[in-house]
Amino acid sequence: GGIITQTPKFLIGQEGQKLTLKCQQNFNHDTMYWYRQDSGKGLRLIYYSITENDLQKGDLSEGYDASREKKSSFSLTVTSAQKNEMAVFLCASRQGNTGQLYFGEGSKLTVL
């Protein structure tokens, strides 16, 4: 079976800092996703990518950049961290023939 690896698992940043999260998958899936999870708000889609070098904005893309450098890798950048921001960022990939999403374990961001 495959796996989705998110790094780092925990990220502490300063206000205004640019912070990058990385996601790797070895499923060979075409489509990948970045979601933000806040307590009581479910998962909100930030960016997704249908194939290598493709980027599609989700509902929460403002304040973020993304990069699909290669099929197995999808990075997310917080362009300017907000003070007291705390959230979990989840990466997922989509299995082509079934449509099922598989998730990583998340990256927890804390901004001091």
Partner: protein
């Protein structure tokens, strides 16, 4: 407003009983998935439906694209079923592969 409206936001069940979670969609969706958050915080895929119903053990899910809703039925609830459940809907052709989540249902199974 939200494209995926999930209800209830919280649910308590006694062991052995059952209930249903529901997601309503404001637009036509082409598929739905249901997830459960496990004890480590990871999201585990329970079902993927493009139409009709699917059943797995004590769980059964249905999706009606035309009527814009999906349900997840839990029967004979067990303590280990406690957790947060999410539905996620895949948008139509104009936003192929865009997957939007509901806000989740916190299920608490009581002894």
């Amino acid at each position: 407003g939200d494209q995926v409206e999930q209800s209830p936001s919280a649910l308590s069940l006694h062991e052995g009983t059952g209930s249903a979670l529901r997601c309503n969609f404001t637009t036509t969706m082409r598929a739905v998935q249901w997830f459960r958050k496990n004890s480590r915080g990871s999201l585990i895929n329970l079902f993927y439906l493009a139409s009709g119903t699917k059943e797995n053990g004590r769980l059964k899910s249905a999706f009606d694209s035309k009527e814009r809703y999906s349900t997840l039925h839990i029967r004979d609830a067990q303590l280990e079923d406690s957790g947060t459940y999410f539905c996620a809907a895949e948008a139509g052709d104009t936003n192929a592969y865009k997957v939007i989540f509901g806000k989740g249902t916190h299920l608490h199974v009581l002894p």
